[in-house]
């Protein structure tokens, strides 16, 4: 109960910050995702009524843009760049390695909620390809060996660089 009202309360704050205009919807959703690490249903419903926008319209935006996740995500978001330059440098092989090691496919989260895997289409760091982002840290020239090391480091205690 308390959690639900927290979500609603925080969402109302976010809507207020943006001004209730319908055009702020995407910005509002981005802030909600930032606050909760995903888009809770309660938040979407609150945003719809606070902004006087049909719930279906909010859900339409929430499902259209891949920056948004409707499912709770893990503590550490692993984003593999699969842009053309990284693809040519072997990103697909790396993706297989991550999928094998973490046991999940892109869009999924590990059972212990430690990792979520995503693919991203070019982060603009092509000289370092293949690139992997773990949260906000960029890792370049990633090899399969490096993958094991990176994951170990995070499992051990959070240091990501």
């Amino acid at each position: 109960m308390k959690e639900a009202s927290n979500i609603a309360g925080k969402t109302k704050e976010i809507v207020k910050k943006h001004g209730k205009d319908k055009s702020s919807l995407i910005g509002v959703l981005q802030d909600i995702q930032e606050a909760f690490n995903y888009l809770p249903k309660q938040a979407l419903k609150t945003a719809a009524s606070a902004m006087n926008v049909p719930f279906s319209r909010v859900y339409e935006a929430a499902t259209f843009y891949t920056a948004f996740s409707l499912k709770p995500r893990g503590e550490n978001i692993v984003k593999i760049c699969v842009g053309t330059a990284c693809h040519v440098r072997g990103a697909a092989i790396l993706q297989d390695k991550f999928e094998r090691t973490l046991g999940i496919k892109p869009g999924e989260t590990t059972k212990d909620k430690k990792f979520s895997l995503e693919t991203v289409n070019c982060v603009g760091a092509c000289a370092l390809g293949p690139v992997v982002l773990i949260n906000t840290d960029y890792h370049g020239q990633v090899t399969m060996n490096k993958v094991d090391k990176l994951i170990e480091k995070i499992k051990e205690g959070g240091a990501q660089q």
Binding site: L44, P54, F55, S56, E60, F64
Partner: protein, 237 residues
């Protein structure tokens, strides 16, 4: 009024007329799937494409959204146009193999299924023409259903595929759907649509069930007309 040439015929049309109307007004057949008189145009199905020539430039455009212009030359059956129509039909046949409407349309357009496209089994009869979404938004005004996700995952429905509080059970969406994809079951005093069951109201005059109570409540709220004055069906009015 503007003068244009459609399939070699000299046609005159009002300036704001869409080519689709001008073409049909000239007695020429042209297929559509996503155009419905009740709602705005979406240009989604691409069946109504025509080839237009303006000066030296030729272009393929959807006739439903291109306005008639002075001196325009329109070809409704050029090779490029027929290729687009054929591909669209092949793609839709593969998407909705169970749809009678599509099969009939394909026969009319002399298009056979493309064997290289493996038929989908999970799309039902929905061609994503978006007439249902538009009627719910523009005519009814509740936007209970919408289009979610994008690309090949795009679907029509209620948020989270759950019962929608905004839906009033009016059935306008099922009415405008060109393929009958939207299921609405009305038996006795109950109507089932989009996962919700609505209680139907009996007509104060003839006693027939004619509309969901929720729909009448909504009309009353929107128009200010008291609910008890809305209890008579269309036939009895």
């Amino acid at each position: 009024m503007v003068n244009l040439i459609i399939d070699g015929k000299n046609i005159t049309a009002k300036e704001d007329t869409m080519l689709l109307e001008a073409i049909r007004g000239a007695g020429i057949n042209i297929p559509t799937l996503c155009a419905h008189e009740a709602v705005s145009r979406s240009g989604a199905c691409r069946l109504c494409v025509v080839e237009i020539k303006k000066g030296n430039r030729t272009r393929i455009v959807t006739s439903c959204l291109y306005a008639a212009e002075e001196g325009l030359i329109v070809d409704t059956k050029s090779e490029r146009v027929l290729n687009v129509r054929r591909l669209v039909m092949e793609l839709l046949l593969a998407r909705c193999p169970e749809s009678d409407v599509l099969q009939k349309l394909a026969k009319e357009l002399c298009v056979d299924p493309q064997a290289r496209f493996i038929a989908d089994a999970d799309k039902g009869k929905c061609v994503l023409c978006r007439s249902c979404v538009r009627v719910c938004e523009e005519v009814v005004g509740v936007s209970a259903i919408g289009l979610f996700s994008r690309g090949s995952h795009k679907t029509v429905g209620t948020p989270y595929n759950e019962k929608s509080d905004a839906c009033i059970g009016c059935g306008a969406c099922a009415y405008v759907c060109p393929t009958g994809h939207i299921e609405m079951f009305t038996t006795g005093d109950k109507r089932k649509i989009w996962g919700r069951t609505f209680k139907m109201k009996t007509c104060d005059t003839c006693g027939r069930y004619f509309a969901p109570v929720d729909q009448l409540k909504y009309i009353s709220k929107k128009t200010g007309v008291p609910l008890k004055e809305l209890g008579i069906c269309m036939d009895c009015r």
